[in-house]
Symmetry: C2
Subunit: 221 residues, 2 copies
């Protein structure tokens, strides 16, 4: 049985032991990472651009300058593929053939939908709080000028492919017992000590959103 969002397209290259049909895995990959690689067709050729994103319920949100060609292109040709990858380790085998990565990844297929002017303010709040939870309550509201300068699109999460690769090293029998090391090199991502922007910031305690963000970062942010 497939999850509701599973289609022929999401099965591309699927290897069964790596694929996850769990919605919570999808949300976890999205919520634990910060950069999406957004692919569109631009002038007949593929274009892949890194962007910050936010998730709200069953939607992925991307925002950019209203002057951005990518955002404009998306409003004209809404087909989009968004790929989010979290690299967790290198699986070093006794042959290069079995060497690979430990990762979690989500690939989202969909159509970019433009957020209307009426909904933009709320979407901006939500995107910000999706990236750094609680930050919106610490900063001023968006200005009309800022909202006018921003385009926001969303893609629903109905057609997705999630893969989790965390298998142990699997070497060929013939390669064992010959004195070659194999193992996992963990890749650890962490948030370092915050660097205040200026004297005013240096004089202030870290706000709760930043304290919580660092605490929650563990090894997946």
């Amino acid at each position: 049985m497939n999850k509701p969002g599973s289609t022929e397209k999401t099965k591309l290259n699927r290897i069964s032991h790596k694929a996850s049909d769990s919605i919570s895995d999808l949300h976890s990959v999205l919520d634990d990472n910060l950069v999406a690689h957004v692919g569109i067709i631009f002038d007949g050729a593929p274009l892949v651009i890194p962007m910050a994103y936010g998730r709200i319920d069953n939607r992925l949100y991307l925002h950019g300058s209203s002057g951005s060609r990518l955002m404009r292109a998306l409003t004209e040709n809404p087909q989009v593929c968004v790929s989010i990858t979290e690299l967790n380790g290198i699986k070093v085998a006794r042959s290069t053939f079995h060497t690979g990565m430990h990762y979690r990844s989500a690939v989202i297929f969909g159509r970019a939908e433009l957020v209307s002017d009426a909904d933009k303010n709320a979407a901006m709040d939500a995107i910000s709080d999706s990236m750094i939870p609680g930050r919106m309550s610490e900063v001023r509201a968006h200005t009309k000028k800022e909202l006018a300068a921003t385009l926001i699109i969303w893609v629903d999460l109905n057609e997705t492919s999630v893969k989790i690769s965390n298998n142990p090293v699997a070497d060929d029998e013939d390669d064992l017992g010959k004195g070659v090391w194999a193992g996992i090199l963990p890749i650890i991502t962490s948030i370092g000590t915050p660097i205040p922007a200026d004297a005013e910031a240096a004089s202030l305690p870290l706000p709760p959103s930043i304290v919580n963000f660092r605490t929650g970062s563990s090894d997946t942010r």
Copy 2:
């Protein structure tokens, strides 16, 4: 003046203070990272897949299973866009509008060229050593079966866009002096303690390739 590989396409969304025309910056972004997001057009829609890669001189190499639909699709429609992003920090401003990321990114436009059977063995060696320098001298050679099961493509690095964002927080004047913290949250990526695959590996010293990889990792791997 543009670098030789600069074209109209590479100027997409360029903001002058972030763009780099330096070949050494391009090579540094490629050599210091491990995952590329590879965008192609598949059945008329964009498809973005994360892949390991290697760089040899002026070429980016990608390898995959000869059964992979992505690799097959690339041999049929060779237009490709490869995006490699290194996230180095979050720039937390006093408004969400000026909040953003510190990163280095490379976007490569080109045509996928298939490595011939005659050149495959050397390319496999080079890709492996590009990922973990020196590893090939520690493991056995590729078998004929492994080579047959692998497709390798390369893309030249003649049309690229490199961006480096490491600017300090730039808040609006009106947002200063109101008791709101701002600053940089560094994102630190490091290689943890290697985990031996089995008793044999645990009994062996770490090989030079792994020792060097960890030493060289600093905060950019």
